[in-house]
Symmetry: C2
């Protein structure tokens, strides 16, 4: 039975389609009839005979899309005499006789917003031409403007951009109308928006070789069309063992024809692939020793792309994306850039300032910049994230003046330390929004490119990243959640949208806590706060929900649902449970439980579940996506992936024959067990804390035995006092607080089964003296800690700024962002506050840990800073560290958290106010944990306890 | 092929038989013919018709023994008219008409040494009586003297005391003669010498129930006869679930008839078994609340044993050998002893001073004594060891004046903390000798009793303990080794004596290092000093030797050899290797080796090997010893044994399919591996240290791969530079020191196989500057330590004392004992020294650890102290701690070592003299380890390095 989830929010803005819906299925008088199967009637599509090839190809796509949707194929013509009745007119202003004629005839007005790079407008016009009753005029400032206008219509009639790439079924409609009077315009805000096909072996490469025979134009045509349908324009092509322009010379012509701006990746200068040097280069890839051959090599790159739309990457790294062997030789690198520009100046028939060039400040190259190396102003500076989604540096106010401007190179997939992530989608959209929004606000508007690895299965974040790039200003902190909902609705035609949205958010939340590749059995605690268990239950619910939707969704959507939703949900669960069962297997082995081998079997079953999911992925659509999930992801022991998914080492325990009984007793929170240890104690009970603790009576062997439990004090309550144990029996322990005075109390539970004397388990209860009562909403001290989710704080905004909640961000799924104007740096007194009422039952100096997203101080003049105050008194100003401490940085990106620590002096028990003030932009606060003496190790910290 | 080992020492004294051999197989003129099968002639055995039953039974044993040896059954008679020719006359002086007549007739003189408790004399007399040509007169001071004289002859003719208990074949001889002129006498020095059948379930109890139907007289007859053949006289009977006098009333009559002095164990007062209270007692076992019933219960005990030979245990503990619930209530205990003596005074028809009584100062009872509780002087004080073979307290000079004297209660088997040891023999004889010799020297001469658990398989230490008890003064530091050789020779009739001696010493050395029950996988290091590996090789050699001897020894001896030699050797190996393979399994699992599961299979195979050895033990002699090895011994996790042998948890690793190759690289001394760690380094090379270190290139998966190793410096020498790895490949690394100047040097070995970049293994070499040269025999600093076996020191004796080497003692098999008169306490300047020439290559303040046997300061006025000197300057006086620090004591007895630590300041490199001075008796020094900065963890410390 499928549970219907409440929709998270009413959706008031649409990102998937760039304007409100102008396509309807019930015609009104005056509407343009695009297609009507009842009447077997379609509009005629008109495009100039001399139109740009890309426009013609897009028009043909539209023709096919209408046919896919309605079964009726419209006439596509360049002959004006064909026009009558209902007409779609497609044309680039200044290059289309008919569009220009309509403008000249005042039938069509150039709209604001359409008159710039890639701008387009969409106009419903009545009687524009003789015999034409209604026209839908798709016109643009340039060719890509027109193309995007065309694909906007394709999307509106029901063709998802992911139709080919994720087998999203085309929506079938009998009738398509365009609303009378529609007049829309749009244009992108970021100039170059694209993706990097990287780390593409073995998955994408396996698929491409099987389906297309190689990275040729037949393959790239699908990539280019996807980009255009997503209104993107830019591509760094596959380069792992490939060379775009050399593998198939048609690749670059097709890109240029379709309107895709090509470049080569950050470490491949002058439009030549790294692998081309292997094929054709002479001598070493070393400009200090082999400048002539390299110069010639680069001249060829410039010449080859002279007449095509591309961006020339400048500079140089070592081969295969490694640092140059010369080290940080700034003089040499400046010479390289100088010579590369000399080549461009010689080869290109236009001023250098009109040749798009980029210098990627990736990894160590940013160091060159920081140590003073500069390139001419017309070169775009491409700042990079830390490969883990945290931008390292954004333009200063001065740098914004540069004519070449700036861009950002981002990652959804990465090969490198601290650990590669190359498998399923692990990117919470809230984080993408937050980091790219900062990039936008700090003026990085020339290039947004993101490494998408194999492309699939990054469908959701690719959609989001490119949509945000189109118009970052249309995106706010609520956008990630809304976008996900709309995207779910689009791909599945509105079926189970809430459920699917929930599933997408659940798996990205989990992978955003820790990427599957970085999981180890001890990541999530099996000892404290039921941490692993809670996640296990959540993922099991999601897996069940995915199964229900999979069974109930229209069967033609099953393959798309599997790829986009069910597989990542199930795969996330499988790898989590693989690690979880390994942790329990190790725990049980250490506790000598008879159930050890059964848990080892679960480990093996989860490993096999993962393999089965991969096989399923490879088998759908008659094997279209064979190889696509072949990226090894189980068995990482260092940064690099293992050569295959590696079955984990398990602990097995054979049982004595003939069978004997052998009691073990363990307690929550501890790996110890009786009789190996005589020191068992349950975690201390406190009135605001866990009401129940668990002790486990278990068999270490096969023969059942009887047990009894006896308490030494009447205030200890057991859920069972005797029984027979075959495997494990959990006994809940609770406290009758009414019997206790304030103070510390100790009791013992004696568990007798087999063995000498039985286990004595200590029970400690602390009833603090409370003179004040907590107020509703107070964060309560319990079990030796106070835990706070930042999103439950009270915001005190001021004129300068605020804190705002970002959904789908951080390890709890909702983080608080310091919302301040760029370049701001405030004193605590001026800063907006996030306040938390805290109720302490004890006093003392307590360590406080602020859990922030591991953002990097992209603005070195301000850093990223917050101030902590207690009861209005300043406690500390804390700053996020730079990337310089490599281990701290690695921990931060593995954990997806940075811990900033201070301590507070709590002099009286009762109510206090803790506040965190935003001194600069950039802080994303997720949680606060105060250790009042009982905090136990866990990955995420304990759950909140609130009055 | 059997290797013949050199005999350890020429054997110049015999312990097995109490005098030199008077039995021959080639008769000389005048010899008495005991039996001659050629002539079908035997001597006649004469015993008084009114002789004590025990003497008669012993005489009948002699008759049977002669029959067993020769096939001829001598006539046994009490009729003087039967006497003619060759005669054996058996009689107690004063109770034997014939013996007294011979004395009166001056045919027989009472010899010195024979005229006291259990004294006997053996005389060859020619023509003592008419018609009698030769007589062998076995006469004694008392009945047991005569009995011991009889069994002395039995042993001499070739009947081992272990004939029944270990199936030692009787030697077959055609002729037995007694040398003409033989006149011998002997008497014991310790009055009561015996064993305690304790902890007797499930092994002995299983056997007894199956063979005898219970602990009845049919069973005890074998125990009594064994004791008498071993010239012992005292027994604490089985009491676990048994009551000697109640289970079978014949038990006590038979004991008394045969001459065995009975008592009840240390916690069972007044000759009543603990279990009798369960059967007949009314009310609580609590003298404070139930004195009347207890008084009545004890009166019955006294009455029951009134006319029999016994020792009354006084005092009281809780039931089942636990402390009294009243706690340390001295007043109550004094009242109890008072009342018990009142009962004895009332019941016995003799003065209390003639009623043997004992107060066992066991465990907490010693505390009562130390806090001032006293019993009358006529009560023997029975001091106890710490249950682990270390005597806790011996009589002071004042206490030696007490009329009741003192005894010692010792353990070869124990149920309790820190860990029970109830399975095979774990007692090195050198330690028994050393502790019991101290006991003798400090005047504990009334009772020596040792807990032998199930009796079997403690045959060897029982023999030794009782032989030493007979005459402690005949035993010196060389005796343990000599005794073992003679015992081996006796049991196996001189076959493979050297090999068998070596096997006995090897397994007891190993079990003396650590008892099998206390082994864990990490006891012996698999990382450092090849510790586990060396032991493994030694045990494998011993196991092979045992197999060879087993195959080649006369087949009728195979069962005895299996029980006494092969089983403990093989079983010791099996449990060691079980733990060793567990350690390697865990190491391999942690290093992700493809061989992990193969090592898991070895774990299981060793577990099964142990089980098979048990089955073999239970099957020999048509199942005579079924149950005897059923004591669980595998799977201990706390003091108490598990309910069965527990198959250990193992780590298994399935391999990826289809097969892949996946290199791992590990180095000696570390659990880390590449690629999980990038920090691999071999242990630092030093010129006097290990010449070779090992790195291992291994497969983590199933597909073989090729590897290469490249060194960064020419002074690093590899045993192989390339190869193909299927499982594991070890590469030896050595240093060409000739290429190195003095100082520290670093190089790298790059191992390339699968994976990115390969493993870089650091090689560190330290060539110290040496200005002086070491002399032959110097203990060399190497690899950051100096290791010394104490037995290789130079002894400087003085008038007061010396150090002496005790073979078969300590973890190296030879320890140095402070040989000083009792009660001595010296200043360092007066003390005998043990000196060690040490050659240092570095300078500094270095920790020094003296490894001593975990002896307890039995003399609280002196303690056990040594002084450490360096180059004649005092460094520190160190004292062995008392048992008060429970954890330190537990560690000491688990490890069979105490570490006494100090530090020395070495100001110059080169030669120095370290000496240890004996300030008191009691210190047993085994090793000295000086940490000059590179000492690694191990159980026993590194091996010596000597010039």
């Amino acid at each position: 039975m499928l549970k219907f989830l409440a929709s998270a929010a009413l959706l008031c803005a649409s990102f998937i389609v760039s304007a409100s819906g102008y396509v309807t299925h019930i015609g009104q008088p005056g509407d343009l009839t695009l297609a009507d199967t009842n009447k077997r009637q379609t509009a005629t599509i008109w495009v100039d005979a001399q139109a740009n090839t890309g426009i013609k190809m897009a028009a043909r796509s539209l023709q096919q899309d209408i046919a896919r949707v309605t079964g009726l194929t419209p006439v596509l013509t360049s002959d004006i005499s064909d026009l009558a009745g209902q007409v779609v007119i497609v044309g680039e202003r200044g290059h289309s006789a008919l569009v220009d004629r309509l403008i000249d005839a005042d039938k069509l007005a150039v709209m604001a917003g359409s008159d710039k790079w890639e701008g387009y407008q969409l106009n419903h016009i009545t009687n524009p031409l003789p015999g034409v009753e209604q026209a839908w005029v798709i016109s643009g400032y340039d060719r890509r403007g027109v193309i995007f206008g065309i694909y906007d219509l394709s999307e509106k009639i029901g063709v998802s951009p992911w139709h080919w790439w994720a087998d999203v079924p085309v929506q079938n409609h009998e009738k398509l109308f365009i609303r009378a009077g529609t007049a829309l315009s749009d244009a992108p805000k970021v100039k170059y928006r694209g993706i990097f096909l990287n780390d593409e072996a073995p998955a994408l490469t396996g698929m491409v070789h099987e389906q297309f025979g190689g990275y040729n134009a037949q393959f790239y045509q699908h990539v280019f069309e996807l980009l255009l349908r997503l209104k993107a324009n830019f591509l760094w092509p596959a380069m792992w063992n490939n060379a775009f322009a050399d593998d198939d010379p048609q690749n670059m012509y097709l890109a240029n024809d379709m309107g895709i701006v090509m470049s080569t990746s950050h470490h491949e200068p002058m439009m030549r692939a790294d692998k081309e040097w292997n094929r054709y280069g002479k001598g070493a890839w070393e400009y200090s020793t082999n400048p002539e051959e390299l110069y010639k090599f680069w001249v060829e790159g410039a010449k080859r792309y002279k007449d095509k739309e591309g961006i020339f990457t400048l500079g140089m790294r070592g081969q295969a994306d490694t640092p140059m062997s010369e080290g940080e030789n700034i003089g040499l690198l400046e010479k390289i850039v100088h010579d590369q520009r000399e080549i461009l100046s010689d080869v290109m028939d236009k001023p250098l300032s009109e040749v798009p060039q980029v210098w990627a400040l990736y990894k160590e190259v940013q160091g060159f910049y920081e140590r003073g190396m500069r390139v001419p102003d017309d070169v775009t500076l491409l700042w990079a994230d830390d490969n883990a989604g945290n931008v390292r540096r954004l333009p200063t106010q001065t740098e914004r003046e540069r004519s070449g401007g700036a861009g950002v190179y981002y990652h959804f997939d990465y090969v490198g330390g601290p650990r590669s992530y190359r498998w399923i989608n692990t990117v919470p959209l809230g984080k993408v929004w937050e980091q790219m929004n900062l990039s936008w606000e700090y003026g990085a508007d020339q290039i947004w490119i993101t490494n998408v690895g194999d492309l699939k299965p990054m469908e959701l974040p690719i959609s989001f990243f490119l949509a945000q790039a189109w118009d970052p200003e249309r995106f706010d902190a609520q956008s990630p959640a809304r976008f996900t909902h709309q995207w779910a609705s689009q791909q599945f035609n509105g079926q189970y949208t809430n459920e699917i949205t929930s599933l997408l958010n659940t798996y990205t939340l989990q992978n955003g806590r820790r990427k599957p590749e970085s999981l180890s059995p001890d990541t999530f605690s099996v000892f404290n706060y039921h941490e692993a268990k809670r996640i296990s239950l959540t993922l099991a619910e999601a897996a069940d929900l995915a199964e229900s939707v999979y069974q109930q969704i229209d069967s033609e959507y099953q393959d798309a649902f599997f790829q986009l939703v069910a597989h990542p949900v199930w795969a996330t669960q499988a790898v989590f449970e693989l690690n979880h069962s390994q942790a329990l297997n190790a725990l049980y082995a250490g506790q000598d439980r008879a159930t050890t081998s059964a848990m080892a079997a679960k480990v093996n079953a989860w490993f096999e579940r993962d393999a089965a999911l991969t096989r399923q992925y490879h088998s759908i659509q008659d094997g279209k996506w064979n190889h696509m999930m072949s990226q090894p992801h189980i068995g990482y022991v260092h940064w690099n992936n293992p050569p295959a998914n590696i079955p984990p080492v398990v602990h097995t325990k054979a049982l004595a024959e003939p069978a004997v009984a052998n009691m073990g007793v363990a307690v929550e929170g501890s790996a110890a067990y009786w009789p190996a240890s005589d020191e068992l104690a349950l975690p201390t009970f406190t009135p605001f804390g866990e009401a129940e603790r668990t002790l486990t009576v278990y068999n270490r062997q096969a023969k059942p035995f009887d047990w009894t439990a006896t308490v030494s004090q009447p205030w200890v309550i057991l859920s069972a006092e005797q029984g027979t144990v075959t495997g494990d029996t959990n006994v809940a322990v609770a406290i009758d607080w009414s019997q206790l005075k304030t103070g510390h109390h100790t009791a013992t539970i004696n568990v007798k089964g087999t063995g000498w004397g039985g286990a004595n388990v200590r029970v400690l209860a602390h009833k603090p003296e409370i003179t004040q009562r907590p107020a509703a909403g107070d964060f309560l001290e319990a079990d030796g800690y106070v835990a706070i989710n930042a999103s439950n704080g009270v915001v005190t905004s001021n004129a300068t700024g605020s804190w705002q909640k970002v959904a789908l961000h951080g390890r709890t799924g909702a983080a608080m962002q310091a919302a301040l104007p760029p370049y701001t740096s405030l004193k605590p007194a001026e800063a907006p506050a996030l306040e938390f009422p805290v109720f302490f039952t004890s006093t003392g100096e307590f360590p406080v840990s602020l859990q922030l997203s591991p953002s990097l101080p992209f603005d070195s003049t301000t850093g990223i800073k917050v101030a902590v105050e207690l009861d209005g008194r300043h406690v500390a100003t804390l700053a996020l560290p730079s990337q310089k401490d490599k281990q701290a940085w690695a921990d931060g990106v593995m954990d997806n958290i940075k811990h900033l620590t201070t301590s507070i002096e709590v002099e009286t028990s009762g109510r206090h106010s803790l506040s965190v003030k935003a001194l600069t932009p950039g802080a994303v606060l997720q949680r606060i944990i105060i250790d009042t003496g009982g905090l136990k190790p866990s990955y995420m910290g304990p759950l909140e306890r609130r009055k």
